[in-house]
């Protein structure tokens, strides 16, 4: 006979059966029965956060680093609404998280009860799917479905809203966790159309000026190996989106760097002049394409994505392929092998060599590392800080970031050779993401070096989690690129608003971040010059601090801008490469 469990116990048991390690959460009235069920078991470790937004980012960071779903538990009302930003973040970047929210008891739903909010309604535009548990008996099946939906196809967040009476400890049910689940109306594509794959290979071989452009779909879809194989066969140039960094080794000679608004000159020029673009798991985001009407005027577009709605949404694909990146790329590689075996000279090596020559000219003309911005040692430049982090961590850290200048500097100057190492809020651009995401990563990999490259604005949006870091002894290294301004806002105001810095600075109201770290029981460091930076870096990443959270307050040049920068409304080859207007 099956075991008899209450709704609350079934919920936690279902998480155990799903293999959940961590539950990031914060208790409240509507979730108290569930918390009691947590107390009675040891398999799922609950992490007490300080704010529900941070819980969702932790689950998100955990999911991005491991590929396994992150799980969140919040209470009803404000607990649920606080989670929304994190859910929207996961939704935009397609990460699998499952958010369980407490709800007022079924009979009270709709009565404006204490801490009631329509979580299913309020989260609807930012979830992949959501459930309201009307009957406690549905709990095991709903949990199974939620994890299945979150992790298959194009991954995304799933909300399970659980009214308190469904978790009543006094009402027992037969517990059986479904071994598998099938949803008759949900069947994600698992392999690509073979005719389209052949057409894609033909387009690849016919190209004279090809570019492979890959995004988060390669990272999330675990297709790094297949992609690497493809590039090895073809020797074509490849660029990654912000979300796709690490999908192809950042130090590889075929890698052009990131593309888009703050992408490298060579990546954007190559895109613009390409005659064939093979997009894999990328969605032609507006931060990549600039004006879609001017986008890559001479390119045939081959677009592979697991989500059919991403194909031809912004840029019409000439060869659309729906399917998971790994499976489809495997087939592309096989078809390519057969084609090359039949016709070894199928690739026009001469044209390719000429194409590489052009790219090399772009690369040496306007690479990121041109000396002007890196001369001298005072004041400290954010790029130098990121490069110092790169050296100190041998390029092998997990790096999280928030959004803004620091994020772009991190993306530009930290070379990611492996997937799932670069974790940032790309689509939603969420300030406050970096620290909690780093915590999720550190929970997943306790021995790994986890660095949060942040800015003082973003950091202050979730810095309460320093307390959580203390409670769970998370040795995260926080690099605070402190320019005493909302840097990217300021940059736009410098460039487009005549230097009128409307509410992008704090008028000396910033805390002392070294003291701040200290007050939470951590260690703070300050670096204001290259010399200090080198000293601080060698200390922070030394064995002495291996078990400690360190916050480095890097006081950087507040006038530094991120370049290259796309010119608004232009094509991909329209970029500003260095500061043009004098700063005020």
């Amino acid at each position: 006979m099956a075991e008899m469990l209450s709704g609350a116990d079934m919920l936690i048991r279902a998480l155990q059966d799903e293999g959940v390690e961590y539950l990031f959460g914060y208790p409240g009235g509507a979730s108290l029965h569930i918390y009691d069920a947590i107390f009675k078991q040891q398999k799922v470790e609950h992490i007490l956060v300080r704010h529900e937004q941070a819980a969702t980012h932790m689950a998100d960071g955990y999911a991005r680093a491991t590929g396994r779903p992150g799980v969140v538990l919040v209470t009803s009302g404000p607990g649920a609404t606080n989670a929304i930003t994190g859910i929207a973040t996961a939704h935009m970047d397609s990460t699998p998280i499952v958010v369980i929210s407490g709800q007022v008891p079924n009979p009270q739903i709709g009565t404006d009860a204490f801490q009631e909010t329509d979580m299913v309604g309020i989260s609807r535009p930012v979830v992949k799917h959501s459930f309201l548990v009307r009957e406690a008996s549905q709990i095991p099946e709903v949990v199974k479905k939620a994890f299945y939906i979150a992790t298959t196809g194009r991954p995304g967040p799933v909300v399970i809203d659980v009214p308190k009476d469904s978790t009543d400890p006094g009402v027992m049910f037969e517990y059986r966790y479904p071994r598998e689940v099938s949803l008759r109306s949900y069947n994600p594509t698992v392999r690509g159309h073979s005719g389209q794959i052949r057409r894609a290979v033909k387009a690849l071989l016919d190209a004279e000026r090809p570019v492979i452009y890959t995004g988060g779909g390669v990272v999330q879809g675990n297709a790094t190996e297949e992609l690497g194989e493809l590039v090895d066969k073809l020797d074509y140039p490849i660029t990654n989106t912000l979300m796709g960094l690490g999908g192809f080794p950042g130090t590889d000679r075929r890698f052009l760097g990131m593309l888009g608004m703050h992408g490298t000159f060579e990546a954007n020029m190559a895109m613009h002049h390409a005659d064939m673009i093979f997009a894999v798991g990328a969605r032609f985001d507006d931060r990549v394409t600039n004006d879609p009407a001017k986008f890559c005027p001479n390119a045939r577009i081959v677009h592979l994505d697991v989500d059919p709605a991403s194909i031809s949404k912004i840029i019409r694909a000439d060869v659309p392929i729906v399917g998971p990146a790994d499976a489809v790329l495997r087939e592309v590689n096989e078809v390519l092998d057969r084609s090359l075996a039949r016709k070894p000279d199928a690739i026009d090596r001469e044209a390719l060599a000429a194409w590489w020559n052009r790219i090399r000219q772009w690369r040496c003309k306007h690479g990121l590392d041109h000396d002007q911005r890196h001369r001298g040692d005072s004041p400290l430049l954010p790029q130098q800080v990121v490069q110092a982090v790169y050296r100190a961590t041998s390029g092998d850290a997990y790096v999280t970031s928030d959004v803004g200048q620091h994020q772009m500097f991190a993306a530009q100057y930290y070379k990611f050779d492996r997937p799932r190492r670069w974790i940032n809020s790309g689509g939603l651009g969420t300030m406050g993401f970096g620290l909690p995401a780093a915590m999720g990563v550190q929970f997943a990999f306790p021995d790994a070096t986890v660095v949060c490259i942040t800015g003082e604005g973003s950091f202050m949006m979730n810095m309460q989690e320093l307390s959580t870091c203390m409670q769970y002894a998370l040795p995260i290294k926080i690099i605070n690129l402190n320019n005493a301004a909302l840097g990217m806002v300021k940059q736009w105001q410098d460039m487009q608003y005549g230097g009128r810095l409307s509410h992008s600075t704090y008028r000396d109201a910033l805390p002392d971040f070294v003291d701040l770290a200290g007050s939470f029981g951590h260690t703070g460091f300050r670096a204001g010059s290259v010399k200090e930076l080198d000293e601080v870096m060698s200390e922070v990443f030394s064995p002495e601090y291996a078990d400690k959270l360190c916050l480095v307050d890097a006081c950087i040049d507040p006038e530094e801008h991120v370049y290259p920068m796309a010119i608004k409304g232009g094509a991909m080859n329209d970029m500003v490469l260095e500061r043009q207007t004098a700063s005020p």
């Binding site: 309604g121 609807r124 992949k128 109306s185 949900y186 059919p308 709605a309 031809s312 949404k313």
Partner: protein
């Protein structure tokens, strides 16, 4: 080029499924002209018909985004092929004195039925494609129309092709 499309959606007959569809249209700035939904012969399923206006790219996105919803089984743009569309309208028309005969005649021409009568008004029931209903309203004239209620369009493909699981 923007044109009117009739889209048929087969979805789970579950609480919340409809709100996801309506929410999708609002969220992505798609337009809904009419929308009608009811359970099918299989009461675990609902059939929804909506009319929308958009260019080819927009309609493609609409069908793709609808298909992405977990509870949606099938989405068909009926206007891509031969199809039938019907809308039902009940319209209360002022019918006094000489007007009574005129309204009755117009209703007959449009194959409407008078389903309720008072001293001052007829209630006419009309069925047909939307433009036929529009035509009737024009024919009787705005000033005589007291109240009109329309069901929104229902559509079905012609021939042997069926939309089912």
């Amino acid at each position: 080029m923007s044109e009117r499309r009739i889209i048929a959606v087969l979805l789970e007959n579950e609480a919340g499924a409809l709100s996801r569809i309506v929410g999708l249209f609002a969220q992505r700035n798609y337009n809904i002209e009419t929308l009608t939904v009811a359970p099918t012969e299989d009461d675990t399923l609902s059939r929804l018909t909506l009319t929308t206006i958009g260019d080819e790219d927009t309609i493609e996105q609409i069908t793709k985004q609808l298909n992405k919803l977990i509870e949606v089984f099938k989405v068909v743009d009926l206007t891509e092929g031969d199809h039938l569309e019907r809308e039902i309208m009940m319209v209360k028309v002022r019918a006094e004195g000489l007007q009574r005969a005129e309204v009755k005649r117009t209703a007959d021409i449009f194959r409407g039925h008078i389903i309720d009568v008072t001293d001052n008004a007829y209630t006419v029931q009309l069925t047909g494609p939307s433009d036929k209903l529009d035509g009737f309203l024009r024919a009787v004239g705005e000033t005589t129309v007291l109240e009109a209620v329309r069901s929104g369009v229902s559509g079905i493909g012609r021939g042997d092709k069926i939309l089912s699981l």
